[in-house]
């Protein structure tokens, strides 16, 4: 790809990967409920979600009603769910487990940073990767160009630039020798696009209704960048508040609403064509203990759920899980859902879809990949 073409009027050469990290250890069991397993109800007499309140997924699993905004996407075959997903980290420590998952094991840099660095179609845009929030997450470490932003205005040159500045800068770059000339033109084009994005009031398409919370506004910024064709290859967002040691429902219901409403608005806003080029991944550092505790909460566990939305990947309408029978199968450690699907194996087909020919052994060193088969 030549320097002058990284931003063009047609479309970005590659799609966009959106990574949502649920920080705090989200309880997959109450998000995607195995209503077909009596063991679930025996382990959670107080906090188990009754079958009649669930949205049916595949006859064995049902979706928590607070995630109902995601249900239409499931029915359309746009949403994939993998249960018993996670990493091999056994510390059950938020910090250690997040660190492990973001680095991709005992490896240098973050998995997303490495992916952006080693993909054959590495980005040339100043907007290749953004983290929505105050700082870069560990998974983006080592990315060739990435910025933590609170709003799109962070990309502009600021409002104190004298009027004469940009025209004169453009004049200097027009005659610049070597690679600097075209690179300057590209950067100026990027600036123009950003300025066009920030000057106009954004109205979401297809009657998408974003809520006012940070997560939804972050997704809205990402949607603007995707539609603005600025060369965005990856975006990360954090959604916290999952550490439900007590009164599970009080803790978890609000972030579940934020998650599902946000993703619903985002996917609706993107529309079918953009959504097909956009892969949204939702992961968490670990799930929670199968049995509820005395405070009607759950403690740190192992396996949880992982959601994949968009990217023309899904379609099976069956939850991927090598499900253990919660009554008779041995649980791991103090009574936790096992990790039957390593998160790297789930990310593998997504990354390959985003960048054909990427060498995944460099993205996930030290892990023998067994990519999960996802319909595509």
């Amino acid at each position: 790809m030549s320097l002058t073409t990284f931003i063009n009027d047609q479309q970005d050469p590659a799609g966009t990967l959106v990574v949502v990290f649920l920080r705090g250890g989200a309880d997959g069991l109450n998000m995607v409920v195995p209503h077909g397993d009596d063991g679930y109800y025996r382990a959670r007499p107080g906090i188990g979600i009754r079958r009649e309140n669930l949205l049916e997924l595949d006859g064995f699993f049902g979706l928590n009603p607070h995630l109902s905004a995601l249900h239409p996407w499931w029915q359309e075959g746009q949403l994939s769910i993998v249960h018993c997903a996670g990493s091999e980290d056994e510390t059950r420590s938020h910090f250690e487990a997040q660190d492990f998952m973001e680095h991709g094991g005992l490896a240098a840099g973050g998995w997303l940073g490495r992916f952006l660095r080693v993909r054959p179609d590495a980005g040339h845009s100043p907007l290749t990767a953004v983290a929505i929030g105050p700082q870069l997450p560990e998974c983006l470490r080592g990315a060739p160009s990435c910025a933590a932003i609170q709003s799109l205005d962070d990309f502009g040159l600021g409002d104190r630039v004298p009027d004469g500045f940009l025209p004169q800068l453009a004049a200097l770059y027009k005659t610049a020798p070597g690679v600097l000339g075209p690179a300057g033109q590209s950067a100026l084009a990027a600036l123009e696009r950003i300025s066009a994005l920030t000057k106009t009031n954004y109205s979401p398409a297809h009657q998408a209704a974003y809520r006012k919370d940070d997560f939804s506004s972050g997704l809205q910024q990402v949607a603007r960048l995707i539609k603005g064709r600025v060369g965005l290859q990856a975006a990360t967002l954090d959604l916290g508040g999952w550490d439900s040691h007590i009164t599970q429902s009080v803790i978890m219901d609000p972030p579940m609403e934020r998650l599902s409403q946000g993703l619903n608005a985002f996917a609706t806003d993107l529309g079918p064509e953009e959504l097909a080029r956009t892969n949204i991944v939702v992961l968490t550092e670990f799930g929670r203990r199968v049995a509820e505790n005395s405070a009607l909460g759950t403690d740190h566990g192992r396996g949880s759920v992982l959601f994949l939305l968009g990217g023309a990947l899904a379609g099976s309408k069956k939850v991927h899980a090598s499900w253990p029978d919660l009554t008779h199968s041995p649980l791991v450690g103090p009574g936790d859902l096992p990790v039957n699907h390593n998160y790297r194996d789930i990310l593998a087909p997504v990354l390959t879809r985003q960048s054909k020919g990427v060498d995944l052994s460099k993205v996930f060193p030290g892990h023998l990949l067994q990519p999960l088969g996802l319909a595509s």
Binding site: A108, P162, G178, S186, L191
Partner: protein
Amino acid sequence: MSTTRRRFLKAATAGGAVAGVAGFSALSHVLAPILSGPGDGLTAFSPPQADEIDETTHILNRLTFGPRPGDHAGMLKLGRKAWLDRQLDPESIDDGWAEARTRHFEALNVWPLGELLEYNARELLDQMTRAKILRAVHSRRQLQEVMVDFWTDHFNIDPSKGDSKWLKPADDKTVIRAHAFGKFRDLVKASALSPSMLWYLDGRVNRRATEKEKPNENYARELLELHTLGVDGGYTQQDVMEVARCLTGWTVRARENTRFAVGKVSFRADLHDDGPKTLLGVTIPAGLGEGDLDQVLDIVCQHPATAQYLAGKLCRRFIADTPPASAVTNVAQAFTDSSGDIRHTLRTLFDSPEFLTARGGKVKRPFHFVISTLRATAARTDAGPALQDYLLRMGHAPFQYPTPDGYPEDAQPWMATLLWRWKFALEFADHSLKGTQFDPQRLQQSAGGETGLAAHLLGRSPAAAETTALAASGQPVALLLASPAFQSF
């Protein structure tokens, strides 16, 4: 001890009125940062006057992180040869100022290594990063800083892996800095046994306790591919495996297993494959034990491919992204003739006509761009979050490159960073970059006016079109720093 010093510094800064003790030598290093006024060394100086980059500017551009006010006149006065002699012998240059600016990063000097475990990993990375920035800005041993940067990429370690986060400061000090101008073989050996490297490239788990156990080839491969022979150096997969066998048994005490002597490197004969090996056609007899390492180093460091590969890398850094073959050949010859003496090899390179004539054709990497801005403007910086954030955005934060090949040297991969460079230039010139200040009035005055300042920043007299653009820009300093000429060196 260090706590006391920190407290004292704080008190001294708060007190302010400490000028009276300036001559008190025991304190002068500590007080230097406080006593010097803003913009150190900012007195009247004569900027370059030629229409094209002259030899003096060229040498300053390539062998330093960019000229400070007065550097051009200073080299003219000293003479190119004497200047180069001093830079190649950094101990001969008094560097008290840079020492004083970095001394309070006490984590970088902690010994034994295990003590470093008390530090938060982010804090350590921050201290390493600040020290690197401040040395690049303030050290008068500029060629040393440039070569440290070069070797840091050549023997790249991303310390975010395992115990590396606590061990990299020692690598920086006892491997990279200690051998930057020494014998290449000593540098490679120090790196091979560096606890941080043993973590980063898995040397610590390269073992053969049983017949069935396969050695870990990670370090062996990079030693050949990146550190010595180069990817086209003519080695085979078999050679990689033989190197891995030779290095089985070297390990480092890990934090997860012990609180005692963490980071200590040792050779475990019981985990070593002591059979005979053949590397690049040379036989290494059985039974040498830890002596295998020296055999490997002799073979790979004396190999002609290593001279060629290193000469190519040095020429790409100092001459051009695509250097003339003649230069590479001559530099390789100097490397071979001197048995891998880095100082001698560099001198040959810097004396070559190919080097002296290749002016202005390289593009600064983001770190170089930021540091050269601070140097040219005699800025003061805390090297803190605001500055580091720009390096992160441009994908060039020190010690954060994940793969062992180090940050790329050629211009192409950095072309997406222009927007951030412009934003940095504007924010800096506008005095809105937190933690970094400069005095534009005094700078312009010292340079003898607007044209003088432009010549100082461009390294030559401004062209007519540039003068017009500067006048019309409304923010000439930012435009100079954002200009294509300032991105080049």
